[in-house]
């Protein structure tokens, strides 16, 4: 992969989530794009192959499961991490069955996400 920076897309309908995670992850030298509208995020995933997609589940228009499926259809190597405040066993298990890399329940600390991202990067063999 050379010196290419890890490309991360973050999708959450709450503006503050994207902003805070972008700030935190850019400190770790990741290239981060944030979206609030899931349709825009899906369009961007179609355009560009991201290494990691971090997405909320409950959103209007396109929900997180659809984003997960779209990201994996676009590129099977993309690691999709689900973040949600409405995590249930059923939703978590469904996401993992559909191929999500990991699942983080809110509230969480940026470090929790960083740890998952580091594991994802290890699997991506950067």
């Amino acid at each position: 992969m050379g010196d290419r920076r890890v490309q991360i897309l973050i999708l959450d309908d709450e503006e503050i989530v994207g902003k805070r995670l972008k700030t935190a992850l850019e400190k770790s030298d990741y290239e981060v794009e944030i979206f609030q509208d899931s349709r825009d995020a899906v369009a961007r995933i179609t355009e560009k192959e991201f290494d990691i997609v971090v997405t909320d589940i409950r959103m209007e228009e396109v929900d997180g499961m659809k984003v997960l499926e779209h990201a994996l259809e676009r590129s099977a190597r993309t690691k999709v991490i689900i973040i949600t405040g409405y995590a249930t066993v059923e939703v978590a298990r469904e996401a993992l069955t559909r191929g999500a890399f990991d699942f983080i329940a809110k509230p969480f600390k940026p470090n929790d996400l960083r740890e998952v991202i580091v594991r994802a990067i290890r699997e991506l063999r950067f």
Binding site: R20, Y86, R93, P107, K109
Partner: protein, 511 residues
Amino acid sequence: MQLVCISRGEQEKGKRFAQQLAAKLTHECLSQEEVAEIAIREGVAVGKLETAAVKKHQLSERQVLEKEHYQALFTRVLCERALKGSLVFHGRAGHLAVPGLSSVLRIRTEIDTETRVEEVMSRLSLDRARAKVYVENVDEDISRWIRTIYNVSGSGALGHDLVVNLGRVDVGGATTATCAFAQLPEFQTTPASIKVLEDLLLAARVRIALARDKRTWAAGFRVQADAGHVTVSYLPRDSAVGRHASEVVAEIPGVMEKTCAMVASNILWVQDRFQATGATFEAIVKAARHWHSAVEFVKLTHDPTPPSPETTDGDGAGTAASKPLPLFTTRKVDGGIEEDVAPVPGRFTADGELREIFGELNARGIAASASRLPDDLRRIQTAIDQTIPYSLVVVGDVFLDQGQAARVRKQRELVGRLADVVKAPVVNAEDLGQMVHTGWVDYAKMVALAGVVAAMFLVIFNHQEEVLRFFSPATIGAKIAAAAVLLVFVPLFAAAYGTLAKAVLKVFHVE
């Protein structure tokens, strides 16, 4: 009013059955998902408990608090609704949230795997292989969740009054049959069951109030209520916080009398390496349960620059700087993203061994605290908090990095030093095992001692005349002989009889 709890896991058909049953009985219908939404709105991080079940994680100390809060909230919601009118709850083992309520009708729905796989394939648009994996895993996850939250097995029909096979009986038929079952007198509300609901509701409200108060939110409490008399107990590690509990409880409507007390004592367990399995662990758990104590464990480290000996917990919440955010607060303002807390090197958070065993003891409700100390005898002695009422100190395998002779010497010295500062018996792990377990060796000893004691009685009572003659001597020599025999025989008999009595009492846990 009537309370019906349906354990239906994630089955869609189980939901339909519950909704139709509620409609037919004209009861209100409440789902697990609705309770979770209420809990989330009130600030309980339900998702953490759910994902812990999926990821097979031990709960951290903060999550154990979240669990207590969730339990209280769940009980409150069920009791409030059930006291207002009849209720059908459907989800995961709702009856466990209302312990002691005998009139609750506990139903479990079952559907064969193949039918469920077909249903999941259609509902979630998954292929067969994935749907099968989903069904198998989600059942395990839900069982694990029930075990985590209520510490009971979450699988099987045990603990239910009725099992409905929705794979064989259609929802309409099952509803009709269950309606008839629900009319049985065993499942009707009585004044006694209303009192149980009111007591549970008051206890839940008190627990939630303690969780919401900034003075008491960080402590673990057990709350019981009986006709307005509320009893709040807490662990010795929370003694500083616990004293505010009384003030919080006093402000809650419905509380007429209150008792706030610390649980009896702690068991201190000192060791080099900890495992949440094995004879010592089981013996400690048994002793803690038997004496209503909590377990505080100290791990001795050989690190030349050891961390501060202060008590820590699963989230590294031992200091003000690293305290987690208060629970029961709305997290909408930050979108659910908390501030990073800088990790403190070498602390409990980094010690998987301590985290695992703390989690195991927490799950059993007997974890007090965990700390790491350097294996320096003087520092260990000074680090022990003498204000904590210990009932027992157990010294396990310590100084393992040293040679056999040095290890035994230092272990003895440690036992002596601990005995100097703690007003409780200090024993090693082997002694503890002997104290709490009754094995086949003990039973063999008991039989042998019983034989010895019985033989002594038989000899004496079958030869009373000879015995009396022997102890009524005429000559000086015979008198000396009688005294000497008495001197030897009486202690021997006392020792045999005493040991036998102690062994028998131990079998019945009356040590």
